[in-house]
Symmetry: C2
Subunit: 233 residues, 2 copies
């Protein structure tokens, strides 16, 4: 069909802001890649790619993420679309940004290496190409809003985590300190964490109990009108 043939077509890309959390350095990191083609070849860039003829935007984002990390089912959502005509000096490209949350340990190291990608701390990012810094800022805001109202922080942690680690994660995302007792009170009162009979013993003599997120309980609560809300202070 050639119904719309009077109109102009555009390159459409998907760029992924891939968040990871470094549990040891207590820092949010982004998975960045060295751009392998012109323009701006060799500079740091978000993971991106052009949308193909027979794939949806979501599918494009999934494909791009899988290519770089080997991961299949990742928490991902659309962030914002960027369409300034001069945002890419190579040509006019409209880009749909997605953000993804992945546990750093999960990525396929060889795959990452052969794609020239690496984890870079959010607080000292290299210069990024084009409008990617703006994309990152907006995605971080999206993430801050999201972890307040949905239990997605766990995507960034190993299955077993301590409350201290969970709190550190929130502090890293909000980029400020939060009160320990209030944080614990709130998260535990939701009843979606399961305390394990096992302690993490690397970081303290006393050891901190591991917990894990119980998705079944969360789903049950949701059906009864419960809303996750971790308004942190």
């Amino acid at each position: 069909m050639k119904i719309y043939s009077n109109y102009t077509k555009h390159f459409v890309a998907v760029d992924c802001i891939i968040f990871g959390y470094d549990i040891l350095e207590k820092e949010i990191k982004l998975l960045l890649s060295k751009r392998m083609f012109e323009p701006a070849k060799g500079r740091w860039s978000l993971a991106g790619g052009f949308v193909e003829p027979k794939e949806s935007l979501d599918d494009a984002a999934i494909r791009i993420l899988r290519k770089l990390t080997g991961l299949e089912s990742v928490y991902m959502m659309q962030s914002y679309s960027y369409g300034e005509t001069d945002r890419d000096p190579g040509d006019r490209v409209i880009s749909i940004a997605y953000f993804a949350l992945i546990a750093i340990r999960d990525i396929n190291k060889e795959l990452a290496e052969q794609n020239g990608v690496s984890w870079r701390s959010l607080s000292r990012l290299p210069d990024l190409i084009f409008d990617h810094p703006i994309m990152v800022r907006r995605a971080l805001t999206d993430l801050q809003n999201e972890i307040k109202i949905r239990p997605v922080g766990f995507e960034l942690l190993p299955e077993k985590f301590t409350l201290v680690q969970l709190q550190d994660l929130y502090e890293a995302i909000y980029q400020r300190k939060v009160d320990k007792r209030n944080f614990r009170k709130k998260i535990l009162s939701m009843g979606i964490l399961e305390k394990l009979d096992e302690k993490e013993r690397e970081t303290s003599k006393k050891g901190a109990y591991y917990y894990k997120f119980n998705e079944d309980i969360y789903k049950r609560l949701r059906q009864n009108g419960f809303y996750f809300n971790l308004d942190v202070n």
Copy 2:
């Protein structure tokens, strides 16, 4: 430049969910248009159009809105991007949805007529083409979130409005009743409304005082860290 020439280009459209508020019927309305070309010619559709070579997405949204309404500066923001390959039966079209808030009285009637557009109540919309119903639902959610944290409801009202009218607007957007005393307490306590020495006398014998939104005060407050928040019950 032909740097990206291996990749496929796509049609990219912008669709606008244009919200208006009917102060008499106390209903949210959408400005819809009869589609004037195939496919789905003659059916109801959101205001849309293809993104042109030299305009940004925001500019496309502004152009589309102006063409239909004659309005230049309208509160508008990006909602979400839709990219299912089969969403438009005419061809593969990626669409960026925007939502706009306009005061119904403001639109240019002749322009609207000659474009075949009309206001339709949100609660009894006609069948819309493609994925436009989904776009509308999401945009309504966006609007509900937005009027909670930003003073954008006033965009939908005349410059002078009564507190009853403002409350009716919130009830229309949230699609539920809210408590009158609490609503007034909250909105007035922000100090961003200016009470006028004039009453609206159409709807009651007693008459209700007009207020107007004082943007200067709001901006001043914002700079001092104030956040608009109208969490309505």
